[in-house]
């Protein structure tokens, strides 16, 4: 039995444990949320180190991207460095491949993402692969990084401008406490009402809303008209939340076990175990091959009818 644990700065309300068999290997996969408590996350990581087969870091990004340039988030690095023996990943290696493929899959196999679709990416520097793929597919992009992270009502419309602004800001932003950039702990269970009111129209104007679930949720207004949401991790409660807001379709990029989709950090940790390679040696082709062997496809769920 291989043990994979996701240690998350997110809410402990989302904790769970499942047993599954993948490519003939038995896995016990569990999640331990620390409600935004950084020190507790460090303690759990030290406790798990050497006692499990792989660790995923959730609720935090280790890396943010501006094109091909990768910036390391200081707080993420502190967590990474607490683990000395066990492979530890944040999902960013897989995310780049998986989310590109999700965009291509939707175009090829569904009618949900026609050219010219108006796409709001609530944040793109944490998933540059998806941003590039959606733009390449001819979507009308709005990158909301400045809007939702900094409260600056400036929609970034091209990947080039996103990259330029990211190059200017990310080298310093990654030094800030992560909670200033991303909702951690209890904040994940609430909405930022001021920003929902001020910036909710960006959601209403979009056909597709894409990005990290906690960010998508935090700023989502009510009264949506059947929009498509492309995101990573959802629970049954999350699906209900989206339905109540008027979301019509939900696409999750990672597989579902026991009624919930897992974060990319968990899936990447599982893949590291299955591949038996160190993280640095794993290539996008390895991820693609593994996705194929695991028959991983985006999960497309209709939540309601488009008007």
């Amino acid at each position: 039995m291989k043990k994979v644990v996701s240690v998350s700065l997110g809410s402990s309300r989302r904790d769970h444990r499942v047993n599954t068999v993948l490519l003939g290997t038995e896995f016990e996969i569990s999640r331990r949320g620390t409600d935004g408590d950084f020190e507790r996350a460090l303690a759990i990581l030290r406790e798990l180190d050497g006692n499990v087969d792989a660790i995923g870091l959730g609720g935090i990004d280790l890396y943010l991207y501006a094109g091909r340039t990768r910036y390391t988030v200081n707080d993420g690095l502190k967590l990474l460095e607490a683990v000395k023996k066990t492979p530890v990943v944040d999902g960013s290696g897989l995310k780049n491949t998986l989310e590109r493929e999700t965009a291509y899959y939707l175009r090829k196999h569904t009618g949900l993402l026609p050219p010219g679709s108006k796409v709001l990416m609530v944040s793109a520097v944490d998933r540059f692969g998806m941003a590039e793929a959606l733009a390449e597919l001819g979507c009308d992009m709005t990158f909301g990084d400045l809007i939702f992270a900094a409260g600056i009502p400036y929609p970034i419309k091209t990947v080039e401008e996103l990259e330029e602004i990211a190059h200017k800001t990310l080298p310093e932003m990654v030094k800030l406490p992560f909670h200033m950039l991303y909702p951690t702990g209890k904040k994940q269970d609430t909405q930022d009402e001021k920003k929902v009111e001020k910036f909710g129209h960006y959601y209403h104007q979009a056909d597709v809303i894409a990005g990290d679930y906690h960010l998508v949720r935090r700023y989502m207004p009510g009264g949506l008209k059947g929009q498509l949401v492309i995101t990573n991790t959802t629970t049954r409660e999350d699906v209900e939340f989206l339905r109540e807001k008027g979301v019509g379709w939900l696409v999750t990029t990672t597989p579902e076990y026991d009624g919930r989709s897992f974060g990319t950090n968990v899936i990447e940790a599982v893949m590291v175990v299955l591949l038996g390679k160190s993280w640095e040696d794993i290539t996008p082709e390895d991820y693609l091959e593994m996705m194929d062997r695991l028959e991983m496809k985006p999960r497309v769920q209709e939540l309601g009818r488009r008007p």
Binding site: G151, P153, Y154, T169, E172, M173, K175, L176, M180
Partner: protein, 117 residues
């Protein structure tokens, strides 16, 4: 130790850098704020005023600031001249900013968009 005059010059460079940047002006049309800039090692106070996307400054204090930026004179001058970013002094406590977290983050972004790489 920097002088009051040097801080004034740095704020002049900062506001000029801002004024040349049409994109920044567009970004801040919704954000009217008074920012008090205080040195804690010399007698020096300035007020930055953001209104309708335009940035100006004056010497002296404002009565009711939305944000207060406090640091030693060297750090203030270096920061507004763009020689250092606000992040490091903010993180090590040399720079204190009093205001809402959203406003602090936004001010940081503005500074980086003026002086960033």
């Amino acid at each position: 130790m920097a002088t009051h005059q040097e801080i004034t010059e740095s704020l002049k460079a900062f506001t000029e850098g801002y004024s040349k940047n049409q994109r920044l002006k567009a970004m801040n049309r919704d954000w009217d704020r008074n920012v008090l800039v205080l040195a804690d090692d010399i007698e020096s106070a300035h007020t930055l005023v953001l209104k309708d996307g335009e940035l100006s400054f004056s010497e002296g204090k404002t009565v009711d600031p939305d944000l207060t930026v406090i640091s030693n004179s060297d750090t203030l001058a270096d920061m507004f001249f763009g020689d250092i970013t606000p992040t490091e002094p903010y993180m090590n406590g040399t720079l204190r900013i009093i205001g809402s977290e959203d406003d602090i983050l936004r001010l940081d972004f503005i500074s980086l968009l003026i002086w960033g790489e």
